[in-house]
Amino acid sequence: LTEEQVRASLLQQLHLSQVPVLDKADVEDLVIPAHVRAQYVALLHRSHGVLSRGK
C-alpha cells in the first residue's frame, strides 16, 4: 500500500480531483462533534468485524 494509493482512494471516495487546501487556522479550533466521532467509531468497529472478500 503506497502513500499515493491512500491519497487516490480518499480523493475517489470524496469525488475530488485534488487535495483541498486547508491551512492550520482552519482546523486548529475545529472540534469533532460527538455524532461524527460516534459514526467514525462505529465504522471502525465494523471494519475490524466485517470482512470484505477479495478475489
Binding site: 500500500l1 471516495q13 487535495v19 482552519d26 469533532i32 462533534p33 467514525y40 471502525l44 472478500r53
Partner: protein
C-alpha cells in the same frame, strides 16, 4: 478419481461430438448452446435447492475438453457439517437464446464416453484434486520478531502507514494519525507438475490478499469558508487475510456461522 477420500466418484468425459459436423449445414457456424453446472441440494423439508456454479456457451462445431470450475461448490460442500449429503452437480444443456424462434441446436450437444468407442453411458466427468492447505496454504500472520526470510511461506506482514508523515494529509486528515495496513509477503508451495495439467485455470499459486477491510477516516471539508469534519470510509485498504491461490481460482471461503 485420484483421491483416496472420494473413491466413490466415477468419472466420465465432457465433450461435444464431432459427429455434429453432419448437421453443419443445418445451423450457421456460430450456433452455440449454453452448458450450466448447478449444485443440487435437498432441503430439510424435502424441496430441492439449486445453486449456479458455472455456465458458459459451447460452440456446436467444436469437440474436446470443456472445463468448468466447480472449486467453490466443492470447497463449501467440504465444510458442511456431517452427516452431509453427497455432492450432486447437475450439468444441463440449454438453448443459447430464449424465445419461440430460438433453434434446437442445443439438442445436438452430446457428452462423450470416457472410453473411446464405448457407446455406453455418456456422462460429464468431475476430476477432483485437493491440496492440503496446511502445506500449500498461507500461514496467517508473519512472525513480527523475525524478518521474512527468502522463500518463507506466504503470510501477512505488519506495515504501518503514518498519515501524519504525509505532506498532503496535513490539515486534511484529522483521524487516524496512522494505521496498520498489512501486506502479503512470502511464497506459496506449488503442486507437483503432474497435478497442474494444462487446464486454463491452474496457473502458479501466488500469495495475495484474499480478504480486505475498509478504513474509516475523519477529514476536514471546507464549505462557505469554514471547515467542518466529515467521516469517509476507504474500501479494501486493510488486508485482513493472505492466501495462496492461482490466478482466477476463487479462494476457498469459510462458511459463515
Amino acid at each position: 478419481r485420484f483421491s483416496q477420500k472420494f473413491r466413490e466418484v466415477a468419472g466420465r468425459l465432457l465433450a461435444s461430438e464431432a459427429a455434429l459436423r453432419r448437421h453443419e449445414r443445418l445451423f450457421q457456424r456460430s450456433a452455440r448452446a449454453r452448458v450450466t453446472v448447478e449444485w443440487l441440494r435437498v432441503r430439510d423439508d424435502g424441496t430441492n435447492r439449486t445453486s449456479l456454479v458455472d455456465s458458459r456457451l459451447v460452440s456446436l462445431h467444436e469437440s474436446g475438453w470443456k472445463a468448468f470450475d466447480v472449486t467453490e461448490a466443492v470447497s463449501l460442500w467440504q465444510q458442511l457439517s456431517r452427516p452431509r449429503q453427497p455432492l450432486v452437480l447437475q450439468v444441463s444443456v440449454q438453448r443459447e437464446h430464449l424465445g419461440p424462434l430460438a433453434s434446437d441446436a442445443h439438442k445436438l450437444v452430446r457428452f462423450a464416453s470416457q472410453v473411446a468407442g464405448d457407446a455406453g453411458q455418456r456422462e460429464p466427468q468431475l476430476e477432483l484434486h485437493t491440496l492440503d492447505l496446511k502445506a500449500y496454504g498461507a500461514q496467517g500472520d508473519c512472525d513480527p520478531e523475525a524478518p521474512v526470510a527468502e522463500g518463507a511461506r506466504c503470510c501477512r506482514q505488519e506495515t504501518y502507514i503514518d498519515l501524519q508523515g504525509m505532506k498532503w494529509a496535513e490539515n486534511w486528515v484529522l483521524e487516524p494519525p496512522g494505521f496498520l495496513a498489512y501486506e502479503c509477503v512470502g511464497a506459496c508451495q506449488q503442486p507437483q507438475e503432474s497435478l497442474t495439467f494444462q487446464w486454463p485455470f491452474l496457473g502458479p499459486r501466488q500469495c495475495i490478499s484474499s480478504e480486505t477491510a475498509s478504513l474509516p477516516m475523519i477529514v476536514g471539508i471546507k464549505e462557505g469558508g469554514r471547515a467542518r469534519p466529515q467521516v469517509v470510509s476507504l474500501p479494501n485498504l486493510r488486508v485482513q487475510k493472505c492466501s495462496c491461490t492461482s490466478d482466477g481460482v476463487p479462494v476457498p471461503r469459510e462458511l459463515g456461522p
